[in-house]
Each structure stands twice: as structure tokens, then as C-alpha cells.
């Protein structure tokens, strides 16, 4: 498939001869091309905000535009730039290129035009540093966006090598929405160009839907933990699915966070003035409930009433694999439940920086769901929220953990754009008995599911090399980070035990 003019296989011109008489196909009879040469997504004329239903996707975008103004398919010539009027008025006052596009659609043109090719994004890209096949974020973002405007270009397959670390967002001095462009291009590539029966697609779908596997595994956690790391099984997974045998699957908790929450009878503090809704995500629920428990105990220590609304995956692994439909389905559940909690006066707290990044940035960038902006505005990372609303340094001034401890702290990439890369170091460095050393600004290299793919494993470890070296140079023999997959990589590369800042906070303040 070299042209992306239709939405799916049923949208071919042959079928417009009567198989389904949509408005759009009737237009073809008027001599208007049934399929304007515009691409599907990432196009200012199109509803690039992801809509799950294929048919709706087609009719809301192209045909609406076609009916009202066929010239929207041109690319910024004077005629369309003046709104397609016949006035011939070329004065700058009449020139407003944004107005020619239907209102409400995602317009990435402004972002692409803001790129002045300084290449800061490329120098911030951990994949481009090790992967000769990867052309870098500047190509994947603004350049690819321009290429595909003409509709006869496939999305370059290299988009699947982007690990979605989002460091380019932080590097860009012009605020080009790079990660948003990558997410869109990847979504389009997977939707339209990827073979759905391929091993790669199936493997990616399984990795992206970690929650589904984790939920099943948690029904028999001990067996699952054993079986997932059983040698012959891992060999087979590597050969058949492309999941690297070098990696060790995380253990499943015998009691999930939600089971623990239910057994303890829910919140122990009731306080209508200080409420938070905990978005624990999949990993704190199924694998590291001790992080979730620490969150609850620390927040209750500060007098918060904790709510634990029903929730699904934040979508991070799905974005990274272009599975936007899956992500949207989960987002609908999350937004509905979190909006309800916000209505009860709660702010949303995540303990994983990728979950908070997703709810805050990717949700409103990619989906148009009622209330999604509210969720974005009310979401915070757990330590961040306490630092804003409580006198955390004061509370820690006289506190100290039971034993002296030294940590090698790694800031997850997704913490960066939220301004959180230094929060753990700054919170703990004044605490007696705690040494907290930042191991530098390199990427851990795992980027969620990226390092869980056999063909990416080597690259993932090469990216991580710098962090491993710095961890070993640091005094601490215990690692610390907010991100569960960074933690996996840190443990994998150094053998260190890895903890979450909330656990140290719990130990220092509550225990």
C-alpha cells in the first residue's frame, strides 16, 4: 500500500458504485474525487485527534472538509490562505492561514512551522546515538509530517524504532510537539501499514497490553512468576515472539495492591478537604504493591483521604507501540472514573512518572474525551504534589531512616518534561542518614517496552551503559527511580535492588 487516501479496505473506489451509499461516495458522482489526496492523520484538514470508529473517522474529516471548502486540500497557496474568497485581497490583515482549517481538528502545522532545524532534538535522542537505522526525531516529527501531507508517502518504518522517551520535547527550544507527532505517525503506521498477523504486531500488542497479561498472571502469581522465567519457555518466547531471553520478567505480587486496599477496608483517613485519587497503574498493582502501600501510608500521614477509583492502563506502552485504539479504550474508563473523583474534590496522584505523563500530556494531545482536560489539569506525580502542598522539607528536617542509606538515583525520561528530574535528590539530600546521588541525565535505555523486544535489546543495553557506569561510580548500592521499567533496567544492568522515593519517604516519615 503506497497511498493513504482511504480509511480501510472498504473505502476503495470500486465499492463506491453502490455497495454503501455514503454521503461521501455520492460526492464522487458530482465529479469531486471520492478520495481527495490527503493523508489520514497528522493533517490539519483531518480530525487527527484519534477517533476509534473507522467509519466515523472517514466521514468527520475529509468529507466535511470537502463539502464546505474543497480548497482545504491545497497546501497554503494564496488562494486557500485567504480563505478561498474571490476578493483577491492580499493584505496581511486578510492572511490567516489557521482559519481555513475546520475548527476543532488537531493542527500540527503550527508545530511543524516552528521547527528551525537546530537539531537539538536529534542530539537529545538516545536511540539515534546507538542506532544507525534511526533517522532521529527531527525527521520523525516535522519532516515526516510535511512529507505525508501529499498523501502518497508511507510512514517510514523507522518510526517503530522511536522509544517514546519524549526527551526531544524537552530539548526543543521552539516547543515543536515532537512526541505528539511521533505518536500520530506511529499510530498511523501501525493502523495502515503493519501486517496484523505478523509476529511483530502480535508481540507488540501483547507487550502494549501488559495489564491484560498481568491480570491473568496475578490469578496464580507464584506459578506465573516461575513460568515466565522458566528457561525453555523463555527460549521459545525469544525465538517465536521476539521477547529477549536475557531479560527477567518481574515477579507478580501474591497480593495485588487493590486486594490489599480492599482487605484493609479502604481509606483509613476521611477528609473532604484533602482528597486524592490514586492512579496506581498496572505495575504498582500487580508487581510492586509496596509502592502503592507506601503512597497510601505517606498520604494518610499527611492527613489525606485516599480514593482508589477503578482504572485501566494509562496507555503509555500502547502509545509507544502505536496501539492508539487500545489506549483510547482504556482512556475512556480512566477519564470517566477520574473525572468522578475530581468531582468529589480529589486531585489525581500517580506514583509512576510515565502514568502521570500520559494523563497530563498525551491524553489531551491525542484524545478528545469529555473531561480529559480536567484530568490533565488535576494530575500530579506523588512526590511532586507533596512538595507543592506540604512542607516536606520541614517534615523531613528531624526525620531519619532507621539505617544510613546511600542511593544511586536515576531520573526517568518522562520525569523531565514534568519538571521532576531532580525532585528525589532535592527532597532527600538534606535528610540525615540519606545520601542521594544523581547518576546523570542519560536514558536508562529500556523505555517501557522498547528494551523488551529482541531486535532492540542490544541497543537498549548500549543506551543504558552510561547509566550503569554512573550507578557503579556512585556511593550507593541501592538504586532509586520513579519509573518501574527504568527500575527493571537498572536492576538488570547492575544487579542492584531498586526502590521508589515513596518507599523511602514512608520509611523515613511513617515507620
Amino acid at each position: 500500500m503506497t497511498r493513504h487516501t482511504g480509511n480501510d479496505d472498504t473505502d476503495t473506489t470500486e465499492e463506491s458504485n453502490g455497495t454503501n451509499g455514503t454521503e461521501r461516495h455520492e460526492e464522487a458522482d458530482d465529479g469531486t474525487p471520492a478520495q481527495p489526496t490527503v493523508p489520514e492523520l497528522g493533517r490539519d484538514e483531518q480530525p487527527a485527534i484519534f477517533v476509534p470508529d473507522d467509519d466515523e473517522d472517514g466521514t468527520t474529516g475529509a468529507s466535511a472538509g470537502d463539502e464546505t471548502d474543497p480548497r482545504t486540500a491545497t497546501d497554503g497557496g494564496v488562494e486557500s490562505a485567504t480563505g478561498g474568497s474571490d476578493s483577491g485581497d492580499l493584505s496581511p490583515d486578510a492572511y490567516d492561514p489557521i482559519d481555513v482549517f475546520p475548527e476543532g481538528d488537531l493542527d500540527l502545522r503550527d508545530g511543524a512551522d516552528s521547527c528551525y532545524k537546530c537539531t537539538s532534538c536529534d542530539t537529545s535522542c538516545p536511540v539515534a546515538e546507538v542506532d544507525d537505522e534511526f533517522p532521529g526525531p527531527k525527521f520523525q516529527g516535522p519532516e515526516q509530517w510535511r512529507l505525508k501531507r501529499k498523501g502518497d508517502h508511507d510512514i517510514d518504518e523507522s518510526i517503530t524504532s522511536c522509544s517514546n522517551c519524549m526527551r526531544c520535547d524537552d530539548a526543543c527550544p521552539s516547543s515543536v510537539p515532537l512526541s505528539q507527532m511521533h505518536n500520530e505517525a506511529r499510530g498511523q503506521f501501525v493502523e495502515e501499514q503493519m501486517e496484523k498477523l505478523s509476529v511483530e504486531y502480535i508481540r507488540n500488542r501483547i507487550l502494549a497490553n501488559y495489564r491484560t497479561s498481568a491480570r491473568l498472571a496475578s490469578m496464580t502469581p507464584r506459578l506465573a512468576s516461575f513460568a515466565m522465567n522458566f528457561g525453555p519457555a523463555r527460549w521459545a518466547m525469544d525465538k517465536l515472539l521476539g521477547v529477549p531471553k536475557e531479560r527477567e520478567f518481574p515477579e507478580f505480587a501474591t497480593t495485588t495492591f487493590r486486594e490489599w486496599w480492599r482487605d484493609r477496608g479502604g481509606a483509613q483517613v476521611s477528609n473532604p478537604d484533602k482528597r486524592v485519587a490514586y492512579f496506581h497503574g498496572c505495575y504498582s498493582n500487580y508487581n510492586t504493591p509496596e509502592v502503592g502501600k507506601a503512597m497510601v501510608r505517606v498520604y494518610e500521614h499527611f492527613g489525606y483521604e485516599v480514593l482508589v477509583p477503578p482504572q485501566k492502563c494509562s496507555g503509555t506502552p500502547m502509545f509507544a507501540n502505536g496501539m492508539l485504539k487500545d489506549a483510547r479504550r482504556h482512556a475512556e474508563t480512566n477519564v470517566e472514573n477520574l473525572v468522578e473523583a475530581i468531582g468529589e474534590g480529589a486531585d489525581v496522584i500517580a506514583s509512576c512518572t510515565s502514568c502521570s505523563m500520559s494523563l497530563r500530556q498525551e491524553y489531551p494531545e491525542l484524545f478528545d474525551i469529555h473531561g480529559i482536560e480536567d484530568v490533565s489539569e488535576h494530575t500530579f506525580e506523588a512526590l511532586e504534589y507533596l512538595r507543592i502542598h506540604e512542607d516536606l522539607n520541614g517534615a523531613l528536617a528531624d526525620a531519619r531512616p532507621e539505617d544510613e542509606q546511600a542511593f544511586a538515583y536515576h531520573a526517568p525520561c518522562h520525569a523531565r518534561n514534568q519538571g521532576l528530574a531532580r525532585q528525589a535528590v532535592e527532597t532527600f539530600r538534606e535528610v540525615d542518614g540519606v545520601t542521594m546521588e544523581d547518576v546523570g541525565d542519560s536514558c536508562s535505555g529500556i523505555s517501557g517496552t522498547y528494551g523488551w523486544k529482541s531486535e532492540k535489546y542490544e541497543k537498549s543495553m548500549q543506551i543504558g551503559e552510561e547509566m550503569f557506569e554512573h550507578m557503579e561510580d556512585a556511593d550507593g548500592e541501592v538504586g532509586m527511580t520513579e519509573c518501574p521499567t527504568c527500575a527493571m533496567q537498572m536492576e538488570h544492568g547492575t544487579g542492584y535492588e531498586i526502590r521508589h522515593p515513596l518507599q523511602l519517604l514512608e520509611e523515613t516519615l511513617v515507620a
Binding site: T119, V130, G136, P173, E377, G440, D441, E466
Partner: protein, 459 residues
């Protein structure tokens, strides 16, 4: 509750870092916020103080009326600047009276450079003298600069050892042979030749400099040969390329490479190559994206950490509130949709100039977007520029105008906010591109702003 600190520095470049470290050393509790990763990564990594004093008057008086860009009229012409200067300090008096150096004085520049020396340690050279060093840059020109990375040390133009300049076909922004010819034409006191070698071709055509640096850092195998060895082998046949005035052939004593010789382990990469080549190895500073800039960014952020400064990037300042005395009470940071107040006794604004986006411009005017400080400018847009691209461009000196304590002034010449100081590119009055003074202005004003802000807190 606001996130409070004594001093809040807005901006993560050279000026912001100088201000933050200075204030912290004076005992203040300092926080530095930066909207994006520092644009130091776009900088050459050279620390210029003052290389030229450009003429501020045209050769003949300017015509009446707007500049002639695009029209067939006589274009204005400007004399060549004075320079390259050997001593940046003695030339300060010849700069315009409202130049930042004239406001803070030569001692501030001296102290600023001393601070820099202290922060970067032996990664930089040039502090043994007040005089400028002459460093060849990738355009083939020789730049007067106050401090230079150790990686560039063997490349100085004042050195008379014969030199080979190495280039790569796939590195399109840089042609080693043209570069060598330009150096020779400029009359450098050494024999020089350029050679294009096979090495970077092993990587993709548009490989990032970070990719090449990483391959050398890790000494990755390229077609079975470790990268450093492969590079040395490619250069080996050219070590006798230099021909002196008598037509004799010298073996070169130093070899210059575009600046990608490793990132984390660059000293080791250079030493390894020097050993293999039997010649000194140096880097030629490149345009953006710049590894010397990235390395400098790492050094300076480590220094911030060591000074106990809190810092965060990724979140912009979007608003501010004043108290009853007309001072900034707190600024509001946009944390992904939520405005969070950051309070401070004193604020240093070091957000950069037009490139760093500390100044914003459109057809209507030029603005300082964070605190809405006054930026003097001609009302008629045609008076923002002159014809001669290398002439005295008024826009180049646009910026916030402060008093000699770096407090920003309002349109009436009064102090705008008593507890704000401005530093670096956001300060007007310098034409840093023509003067070669960007780093020096940032260090001198950053140092004074940091000192002043700390004084504001202790008073």
C-alpha cells in the same frame, strides 16, 4: 502553599548558571528553572569575552528614509570592526555607553571569567593570560576567544606546528580542504593541509554527531575494526600531506578533527588517537548541534549541583504576581496545565535573547514575555535594521535596559521591580555576534545579578 526559595533564577544558560552559583555561594537558597533543556548545546563551547569593537557609525551618513532591502537604491555601508582584539579588558571603554560591560565594568568580566574557570576546572584553558586566544572555527575563520576547551588547545592559530585538518565527505557543513586553504590565506604562522578521509561513511548519511561520538566513546567495531583504530588508519596516509614554502614535505605535528571525538570519554578518545597518530589531536568547534556545547552543559550542571542549587527544566513561567511594594512576589509555573506559584525574595531573569526566546518578536514589536519588562525599540519596524548585513543592526542590541545594579528599567527610566535583576542575552545594548562577546556578557552580568540578588535577600 508556594514553592519558596531566596533567589529564583529563570533561565538555564550561561548567565542563569553564573547567577545561581554566585548567589548560592553568597549563602542564598537558590532555585533555577528553565523551560527547556539549555541552549548551551547549540553554542560553540568557546568562551568569548570581547573579540571586536564594531563601528556604530556608517561610512557615509545614513540616507533619510527606510533601509533599501529589496530595492534598487544605494545601500548603506559600514566600516570593518576594530579587531581582533588581543586584550578584551582595555577595549571596554570604546564600547557604547549603554553596553552591559560599561554598566558592570571590566572587573565584573574578570570575576565572571574567574568564576567560569572555577566551575569547569581543567576542562578549559586560557586563564593564564588576559589576552585572547585565536581559535580556528569550522568556517575557516579564526576567532578571538578568552577561554577554550582543552580539546581545542592544540589547534590554536598562534601555534607554529604544521597541521593537518581532517574532514569527512558525509559531514556536509564542513570541508577540510577549503578550511585549510582559508587558514593559509588568512596568513596563519604554520603550514596546513586539508584531507577528506573515509570514516563517517560507515554510518548513515545523516548520522548525528552524537552517534559518531558514541561510537568513539565505546570504541565500537566498524567492519571489524575498533572505531578509534579505524579513524587513525584513515588519517594515517595523510600525515605527510603538508607542503611547506620550499616544497619540502613535513610530517604534521598536530591533526584537527571536527568536534565529535567522544562525549563522556572525550579526553580518552583524543589521547588514544594522538598515540596512534604520533601527533597532537585537537577538535575544531562546529556549529549547532555542538558536542563541545553539550559537554559544557554537563560540566555546568554538575557545578550547579555541587553548589547546592535546586534546578528543574521542562516547565515554563507563565505569569507573575506583585506585592504591595511593586516587587515580584511569586511567579507561576505551568506544570502541565496547572499553575503552581514559586515564591522568591529576589528573581534573576536570564532567559536569553531572540534566539533563546527570552525576547519575543513579531511584526508589531519586540517583547520580554516572562515579566513584560520594557524593551526600547523604534516604533517604525523599518528602523530595526540597516541594509549592510554586517552593519550596525539596531535589532541586535534590543533587550531589557537595566541600571548599573542590573535592575530593569521601565519606559520612564525608573526601576521596574525592585527585587528583579536581569542577566545575559535578555539584556540589551550588546551586539554579541559582531563583538564576539556572548559568553563574557553572560558571565559578567550573571555574576553581578547573582551577587545583587543575594544582597537583596540578606538585606
Amino acid at each position: 502553599m508556594a514553592i519558596d526559595s531566596d533567589v529564583l533564577v529563570v533561565g538555564g544558560g550561561m548567565a542563569g548558571i553564573a547567577a545561581a552559583v554566585t548567589a548560592a555561594r553568597e549563602g542564598a537558597d537558590v532555585r533555577l528553572v528553565s523551560h527547556k533543556a539549555s541552549t548551551l548545546r547549540q553554542a560553540s563551547g568557546l568562551i568569548d569575552a570581547l573579540g571586536y569593537v564594531p563601528a556604530t557609525e556608517p561610512t557615509t551618513p545614513l540616507r533619510e528614509g527606510p533601509p533599501t532591502a529589496g530595492r534598487e537604491l544605494d545601500r548603506d555601508e559600514w566600516p570593518d570592526p576594530e579587531g581582533p582584539l588581543s586584550d578584551p579588558y582595555e577595549a571596554i571603554d570604546r564600547l557604547p555607553a549603554d553596553h552591559p560591560y560599561r554598566l558592570v565594568g571590566p572587573d565584573a568580566l574578570r570575576d565572571g571569567l574567574a568564576l567560569f574557570d572555577d566551575l569547569v576546572g581543567d576542562a578549559y584553558l586560557g586563564d593564564h593570560t588576559d589576552r585572547n586566544a585565536l581559535v580556528p572555527t569550522f568556517g575557516g575563520s579564526v576567532k578571538p576567544t578568552a577561554r577554550y576547551p582543552a580539546a581545542a588547545a592544540s589547534g590554536l592559530a598562534s601555534d607554529d606546528r604544521p597541521a593537518l585538518i581532517v574532514g569527512f565527505r558525509s559531514l556536509t557543513e564542513y570541508d577540510a580542504r577549503a578550511f585549510a586553504d582559508r587558514l593559509a590565506a588568512a596568513g596563519v604562522p604554520f603550514d596546513v593541509a586539508g584531507a577528506e578521509v573515509e570514516f563517517a561513511e560507515a554510518f548513515r548519511a545523516d548520522a548525528k554527531v552524537t552517534r559518531l561520538a558514541k561510537a568513539l566513546d565505546r570504541n565500537e567495531e566498524i567492519d571489524g575494526t575498533p572505531a578509534r583504530e579505524a579513524l587513525a588508519k584513515a588519517v594515517g596516509p595523510h600525515l605527510h600531506d603538508v607542503v611547506d614554502a620550499e616544497g619540502g614535505v613535513d610530517r604534521v605535528e598536530r591533526v584537527g578533527f571536527p568536534a565529535f571525538l567522544g562525549d563522556d570519554h572525550s579526553a580518552e578518545v583524543r589521547a588514544d588517537l594522538a598515540d596512534r597518530l604520533g601527533a597532537a589531536v585537537f577538535e575544531i568547534p562546529m556549529g549547532p548541534p555542538s558536542l563541545p556545547g553539550l559537554r559544557l552543559e554537563d560540566l555546568l550542571y554538575d557545578a550547579l549541583d555541587a553548589a547546592g542549587v535546586r534546578f528543574e527544566t521542562g516547565t515554563p513561567v507563565v505569569d507573575y504576581e506583585t506585592d504591595d511594594d511593586g516587587r515580584i512576589d511569586h511567579v507561576l509555573m505551568d506544570r502541565k496545565g496547572t499553575k503552581v506559584p514559586y515564591g522568591a525574595e529576589a528573581v534573576v531573569l536570564a532567559t536569553g535573547g531572540l534566539v533563546g526566546k527570552g525576547l519575543d518578536s513579531d511584526r508589531e514589536g519586540v517583547r520580554e514575555p516572562v515579566l513584560d519588562l520594557h524593551v526600547p525599540q523604534p516604533a517604525d519596524r523599518y528602523e530595526w535594521f540597516v541594509d549592510d548585513a554586517f552593519g550596525e543592526q539596531p535589532y541586535a542590541r534590543f533587550g531589557v535596559r537595566p541600571d548599573d545594579r542590573l535592575r530593569p528599567l521601565d519606559p520612564d527610566g525608573e526601576v521596574a521591580y525592585g527585587n528583579v535583576r536581569v542577566a545575559g542575552g535578555v539584556v540589551g545594548g550588546a551586539d554579541v555576534a559582531r563583538e564576539k562577546s556572548a559568553s563574557g556578557v553572560s558571565l559578567a552580568t550573571g555574576l553581578v545579578a547573582g551577587r545583587e540578588a543575594a544582597r537583596e535577600v540578606t538585606q
